[in-house]
């Protein structure tokens, strides 16, 4: 019998109890995954990204915790003991060599912790300097990215939500900052802020951090947020117009639900990915500035300043240059590969 489209006729067949076979369709074969779990699974499947992630975690943990129980301090000149003349036998030790007094103690049967990478020209244990330098470089990269994230996200969201004239003005400012040659501006600002910020910082906690570091963060906050804010604005503008948002609205979803379930998850992956990719570029910039002598204050080491210091004696102590160079390259490489993996795992749309 042919059924009329709008007839009130009830089909009895619809009320037959489901057979076992039909019931099986409804059985949940595996638990439904969340957005995060799904992405993590894809990330772990990508071997290169997974290895990079573990490398970063190991390097980060080592740089945070090793200095706590390492017997030497990064700024301790081992040849210097209070009340005694400087012992030059500690300067420029080759890896696994010992200074005079240490050698005596070893001869007397004591055990002395080895200088794995030797010492530098001032008799400081080089291994702990590299570890500490890694910590500084990672911290700079991390905090600079957080600053960029916060400023960029706020400005981008404001421009995207409010729209209109505010949006136009903000985006013109963004355009100009975006077309400024960033590295040159960083050098300019860092070289000047170094001098003019020093008196202002005296006596505050920031002084310990060093004027150069403060100016570096300032510069990042001033210049590098623009691409992040462009990204967020674009996301918010396009997401609001998506069909699934419309569909969700049509089925009666409240805006709270739409923001939580649709806008945020779709936006957050882009945010996390570009933050992750921002870290290596911040580390790059910091090491570049340190190399030009505009980075961390001595005696605090960063990977860039270690490499720059080692340039003076590269004929005799090539390993002192190669070690920080390898560490920087390793960190940047694994962060880049991890960032790419993150992008592929959490935002398959972006994959080319």
């Amino acid at each position: 019998m042919k059924k009329k489209i709008f007839s009130m006729h009830v089909d009895v067949d619809d009320f037959i109890p489901a057979t076992d076979e039909e019931k099986e369709y409804m059985v949940q074969m595996r638990p439904s995954t969340t957005f995060f779990k799904d992405g993590m699974k894809r990330l772990m499947k990508n071997k290169i990204a997974a290895i990079s992630m573990f490398l970063i975690i190991i390097i980060a943990l080592a740089s945070i915790f090793l200095p706590f129980f390492w017997p030497y301090r990064y700024d301790k000149m081992l040849g210097n003991t209070p009340g005694k003349p400087m012992d030059p036998s500690y300067n420029n030790l080759a890896p696994f060599q010992y200074g005079k007094t240490e050698q005596k103690r070893i001869d007397a049967g004591e055990s002395v912790f080895p200088h794995i990478f030797g010492t530098d020209a001032q008799g400081r244990d080089y291994f702990i300097r590299v570890v500490y330098g890694t910590r500084i470089s990672l911290a700079v990269g991390f905090f600079a990215s957080i600053i960029v994230l916060i400023i960029g996200m706020t400005v981008g969201a404001v421009a995207g939500y409010i729209g209109g004239k505010v949006d136009i003005i903000i985006m013109r400012i963004v355009d100009i900052i975006y077309s400024l040659p960033d590295t040159l501006m960083v050098i300019l600002l860092a070289s000047v802020l170094k001098v003019s910020l020093a008196p202002a910082l005296e006596g505050t906690i920031l002084e310990r951090l060093g004027v150069n570091m403060v100016s570096l963060f300032l510069v990042f906050g001033l210049l590098y947020w623009v691409s992040m804010s462009r990204l967020i604005r674009g996301q918010i503008l396009s997401l609001r117009e998506q069909e699934y948002v419309l569909a969700s609205q049509a089925t009666g979803a409240k805006s709270g639900w739409i923001i939580r379930k649709h806008l945020l998850p779709n936006c957050i992956s882009v945010v996390i990915i570009s933050t992750a990719l921002q870290i290596p570029s911040a580390i790059f910039t910091e090491s570049y500035l340190s190399f030009l002598g505009l980075g961390v204050n001595a005696p605090m080491p960063s990977l860039g300043s270690l490499a720059s210091d080692a340039l003076n004696g590269y004929n005799t102590y090539a390993y002192r240059l190669i070690i920080p160079a390898v560490v920087i390259s390793l960190i940047v490489l694994s962060l880049n590969l991890f960032g790419d993996g993150l992008r592929d795992a959490f935002d398959p749309k972006l994959k080319n």
Binding site: I176, L188, V192, V195, P199, P280, A318, V332
Partner: protein, 309 residues
């Protein structure tokens, strides 16, 4: 060229001019914030000379008036004032001197990066997922992750110290080989990756399939259709490439002791030679802005399919 394209170009030029103006203004006010003013040198100039300089640049006048004079000097006379450390020399002359060497260095590096980058990228795309593609991708990934000063010092260690093939000092012609290689590796790696991905994109297009269906030879497809179209995105990299080469040359010239604009800039930072820092920043920034402008306009003009905002 239609009216829309013309409008875009005009807008883009306006933005570039605005950017250069912002650079000059920021430089001016930032330098004015230096305690003691930009002509403060430790012992470089006598007090009488400093007073004369400050009078000439109108330090007693209101800030806005100083700013206008400063703008006029730069725009109409390219006058950035005298160098504080290199006595008796004008900043613009020092820059012009250094520019000869630096321009040579940069242009050759850019040329090498373009040629090798495009060839390697095309090879990688045509041999996708073969051994050669993977080797190229691994090497370029490594190069992209290495800061220029590390690349430079490692090359110096390897080819000037361990195996002394090239001199470590960059003041001679052979001495420029290592700095040029250092500067070209990163852009080369970047262009390789860019060309590879855009070539893969083009090879999947319908018109390539049409050409194949019509029986066009493989060579003609690659050189006549695929390569030409996949080079368009490379144009967008011209601006960033120049920016990289400029900033990279700062450290590379320092490492290899090349007598160029970069080394002068770095020593002016350590010497606090503020007029020199100011002048070099403005000149280099203007160069980069112009290059960005040219590559943006070229990009839109070359490919009519690209929609204008």
């Amino acid at each position: 060229m239609n009216a829309k394209t013309l409008m875009y170009i005009l807008k883009r030029i306006a933005l570039a001019i605005l950017t250069v103006w912002v650079v000059i203004t920021v430089t001016f006010f930032v330098m004015r914030a230096v305690p003691g003013g930009p002509f403060m040198g430790e012992k470089a100039i006598s007090e009488a000379a400093q007073a004369a300089l400050e009078a000439k640049y109108g330090y007693d006048k209101p800030l806005m008036e100083q700013y206008v004079t400063y703008l006029k000097d730069i725009l109409f006379h390219l006058d950035f004032g005298p160098s504080v450390k290199l006595r008796g020399r004008m900043v613009i002359d020092v820059i012009a001197d250094g520019m000869k060497t630096s321009a040579k260095l940069g242009l050759i590096a850019a040329f090498i990066a373009l040629v090798f980058g495009i060839v390697l990228g095309a090879v990688a795309a045509l041999r996708r997922n073969k051994v050669i593609d993977k080797v190229i991708m691994v090497i370029t990934t490594a190069f992209v992750s290495m800061p220029s000063f590390i690349m430079g010092t490692l090359l110096l260690l390897a080819f000037a110290v361990r195996w002394p093939i090239f001199p470590a000092n960059g003041s001679t012609a052979e001495g420029l080989v290592l700095p040029i290689i250092t500067l070209s590796l990163y852009p080369m790696a970047y262009i390789t990756r860019l060309t590879r991905s855009s070539m893969l994109d083009v090879l999947g297009q319908d018109y390539i399939r049409t050409a194949k269906a019509k029986g066009v030879s493989g060579q003609k497809i690659i050189f006549g259709h695929a390569l030409k179209n996949s080079l368009i995105p490379v144009i967008t990299y011209f601006g960033p490439m120049l920016a990289y080469i400029v900033t990279g040359s700062l450290v590379v010239e320092q490492i290899f002791a090349v007598p160029g604009i970069g080394r002068n800039f770095v020593s002016s930072i350590t010497n606090r030679d503020y007029p020199m820092i100011m002048g070099t920043t403005i000149v280099l920034a203007t160069l980069i802005v112009i290059m960005n402008l040219v590559s943006d306009i070229l990009y839109k003009v070359v490919d009519p399919r690209i929609t204008l905002e």
